[in-house]
């Protein structure tokens, strides 16, 4: 729980849930587990507001509650999950992925569930159908069955999962039905949704109908009857009470990792090789566990059969491509056997390590220039080098090489390792070697990324605050314009209202909008780097 992580979590909570939830969240992040009274006392906020904030956090699965240190008899303790808060940065990417895979319906389903944290299937279907109907042309409306079909597809591919059961008093260990081990009284492990056997089972619901459009009162009787019927429907039990669904972030992350590997192969080799790797990953999706080092072994025959129909390459050409992939120094694919025409696996962890290394190298290149990047790459390959050797291998004059090394050293990207020749570390009799450790450097860069996103958000809030007056004025004028247009005013009045914003103000507003857009898309792009580095770091920790 670093300073930068806490700061970023606080800013994200403030943007999405308001200042009260931000104070509560940061207090819990800093103090670990707290019970309700202690939390209210430490934050100095009214008890009611603290309760509301905890409800909001728990609804979005950012806060877990469980029996405290005093055992099941003591007060309930609340802990905040910082990773889950940091996922909020990635919400646009999740929604966009759902759109690209499952169309507009899938996109809206994921968006609704992300906005509300947890939802039942029936309420999701109704809300999404209403939204889609709203955006469609007059006279058309969205069938519930189509939305249900999209929802079912999302669950089948594990993008959505059921929320784990939670006992009321917080003894979460007791109700994990699938876990056979006896839960320890105080240290019950958090119930993993995967342990739940019905995790991906669709409940039987009776829900038929179409999306409702909010119409004006001109439509009269037919609509009234429709709305009455809708009320009866919502009052009636749809058959899935108490079954809440949440987004399965791990599945999305798996998808992003595969996308990163495929695009890396495409840029290093060519499109066909990337298609082969994509096929291999697709075939092994269901059989490979999430944090595996490499996928299940696939035979060349299987790959050949599963290639998409548009790529009709011959069998010997496929073999050549596979050999090319295996021989590549990046080691994306390796051969593990000869049966079935050759057994091949995709090395997931090694691919992630290579991607992280490429990220580090590119960061050094962009910040310090290509010659420093050359030194950095040299040190990554050769591990430990003396000052003289660095100058020789990098083919850079001594003075400049020294300068660059010291700059990298001061930024902590390069470390100095002392190797003594004598037991007393006498300086004249010690080797000083420069070295780069990939994992600690990746962690350092990750913290820099968190700081960068925090700075971007703060700058955006500052810009918005500076120009608040202008923004409010423009919003009011837009509202006036809209009401005038609705009541049918003539063009002269409209232009008169528009002229209330002077041209310099218009320019200022344009510039403000431009800045805010830039800051927002920077956040999105830094998040891509964050994702890559986080995946790399977690892959190293799990393989140990």
């Amino acid at each position: 729980m670093t300073v930068q992580e806490v700061r970023l979590c606080g800013l994200l909570l403030q943007e999405h849930f308001g200042e009260v939830v931000e104070k509560v969240g940061t207090e819990l992040l800093r103090s670990g587990a707290l019970n309700l009274r202690a939390l209210a006392h430490q934050t100095g906020i009214q008890l009611d507001l603290v309760k509301k904030s905890l409800c909001v956090l728990a609804q979005h699965s950012m806060c877990v509650f469980g029996p405290g240190r005093r055992g099941p008899g003591g007060p309930v303790e609340y802990t905040v999950n910082s990773e889950r808060i940091l996922y909020m940065l990635r919400y646009p990417r999740y929604i966009y992925t759902a759109k690209s895979l499952y169309g507009d319906t899938g996109e809206l389903v994921i968006e609704e569930i992300l906005q509300r944290g947890q939802m039942t299937m029936s309420s999701t279907v109704k809300t999404v159908a209403d939204r889609l109907t709203h955006s469609m042309e007059d006279g058309q409306s969205m069938e519930y069955s189509e939305v249900i079909a999209a929802f079912t597809r999302l669950v089948e591919t594990h993008f959505l999962q059921r929320c784990p059961l939670m006992d009321n008093a917080g003894a979460a260990g007791r109700t994990s039905s699938a876990v056979s081990e006896s839960p320890a009284p105080a240290a019950a492990p958090p119930v993993q949704p995967e342990n739940f056997p019905d995790c991906y089972k669709i409940p039987q619901i009776h829900l038929t109908g179409r999306g409702k459009r909010r119409r004006s009162s001109e439509d009269g009787d037919a609509e009234e009857r429709g709305t009455k019927k809708a009320k009866v429907d919502s009052a009636a039990v749809c058959g899935d009470e108490g079954i809440y669904w949440q987004v399965n972030f791990e599945r999305f992350h798996l998808h992003f990792r595969h996308q990163a590997i495929i695009s890396a192969v495409a840029s290093k080799l060519d499109q066909t090789s990337s298609e082969i790797v994509r096929t291999m990953l697709r075939l092994s999706e269901v059989t490979t566990p999430a944090n595996a080092t490499y996928t299940q072994a696939l035979s060349a025959n299987e790959i050949f059969r599963a290639l998409p129909a548009s790529y009709n390459i011959g069998r010997p050409i496929l073999d050549q491509y596979l050999t090319l992939l295996v021989d590549d120094p990046m080691e994306f694919v390796s051969k593990t056997g000869d049966s079935g025409g050759g057994m091949y696996v995709v090395n997931l962890h090694r691919a992630l390590a290579n991607l992280a290394r490429a990220t580090l190298e590119s960061v050094v290149q962009e910040r310090f220039g290509s010659r420093s990047a050359r030194i950095f790459r040299l040190l990554l390959r050769k591990r430990h080098l003396e000052q003289k050797q660095v100058e020789d291998f990098a083919m850079i004059p001594a003075k400049e090489a020294k300068d660059m090394l010291y700059t990298l050293l001061s930024e902590n990207l390069v470390q100095l390792q002392e190797i003594p020749k004598t037991p007393d570390y006498a300086p004249s009799r010690t080797f000083y070697l420069y070295t780069v450790n990939q994992l600690p450097t990746a962690r350092l860069l990750l913290q820099n990324c968190y700081k960068a996103v925090g700075n971007l958000i703060e700058r955006r809030l500052f810009e918005t605050k500076e120009n608040k007056r202008h923004l409010e004025k423009s919003q009011r004028i837009e509202a006036i314009l809209a009401s005038l247009q609705a009541s049918g005013a003539d063009a002269a009045q409209l232009t008169e209202v528009e002229e209330m914003i002077t041209p310099p103000e218009r320019q200022q507003l344009e510039a403000l909008r431009h800045h805010i857009n830039k800051l927002d898309s920077s956040e999105n792009q830094v998040d891509e780097t964050i994702f890559l580095l986080e995946s790399y770091i977690s892959s190293t920790s799990s393989s140990r």
């Binding site: 308001g18 409800c55 919400y91 059961l165 003289k388 300086p427 999105n524």
Partner: protein, 216 residues
């Protein structure tokens, strides 16, 4: 041996200069004596942002999501600050932020019961009913307290001196009401409370054996 290098000369460094690559008498860049600038000048300009349909769509998604979250009941607004004096215009101004508690309530089977907030009903509906309810329990409580104190007094009168008992009586009775206070006054027919007056009967009753201690 360890002390040899230390006392000699301030210019000694802990590491060997040659090994790290600084030769003798070479021009080193001037050492910095102040913290780095807040916005140091950028030598290498950053790479331009990605543009394209995907980036723009994600940007639009992000901004819409943020705007939508502000309207949902999950956006907890801080309590309105308390005003120093009630103003007449408050009745006509809707300053209280819309309390979103009633718009959303989680499934209480899944959440700890202690997080439940009792929603205050608006005063205008229940203003006539509330005072009656609030008076009655208070009256009940007062009666109970009185009963307890009378019971206490009865116990104390039996166990302790009359003076102490009267003192305690007066203290408790002063808190309660005026009935017993009047009684005591009428007992002696003076304006002074008798228990406060010490008529000196105890003076000198203590033993005078130890004369070294001064008597004040």
């Amino acid at each position: 041996m360890a002390g040899r290098g230390r006392g000699r000369g301030r210019g000694q460094l802990s590491f060997c200069m040659e090994a790290v690559g600084i030769g003798k008498g070479e021009n080193l860049p001037p050492s910095t004596v102040q913290p780095t600038q807040l916005f140091p000048p950028l030598e290498h300009k950053p790479v331009p942002l990605q543009t394209g349909e995907e980036a723009e769509y994600m940007l639009a998604l992000k901004q819409e999501f943020r705007a939508a979250m502000k309207t949902l009941p999950f956006y907890v607004r801080p309590a309105a600050p308390k005003k120093d004096v009630e103003r007449y215009s408050d009745k006509y101004q809707n300053t209280e932020p819309s309390d979103n508690t009633t718009e959303w309530s989680p499934d209480w089977r899944r959440f700890p019961k202690e997080l439940r907030v009792r929603v205050k009903r608006p005063l205008s509906e229940k203003s006539t009913v509330v005072p009656k309810h609030s008076k009655q329990p208070r009256v009940d409580k007062e009666e109970i307290i009185r009963k307890l104190e009378t019971l206490e007094k009865k116990e104390e009168e039996v166990s302790s001196d009359e003076e102490e008992g009267e003192k305690k009586k007066t203290e408790e009775e002063e808190a309660e009401g005026e009935e017993e206070y009047d009684e005591e006054e009428f007992e002696e027919e003076t304006d002074y409370i008798m228990s406060y007056f010490d008529n000196g009967e105890d003076f000198g009753a203590d033993s005078d054996d130890n004369m070294d201690e001064a008597i004040y």
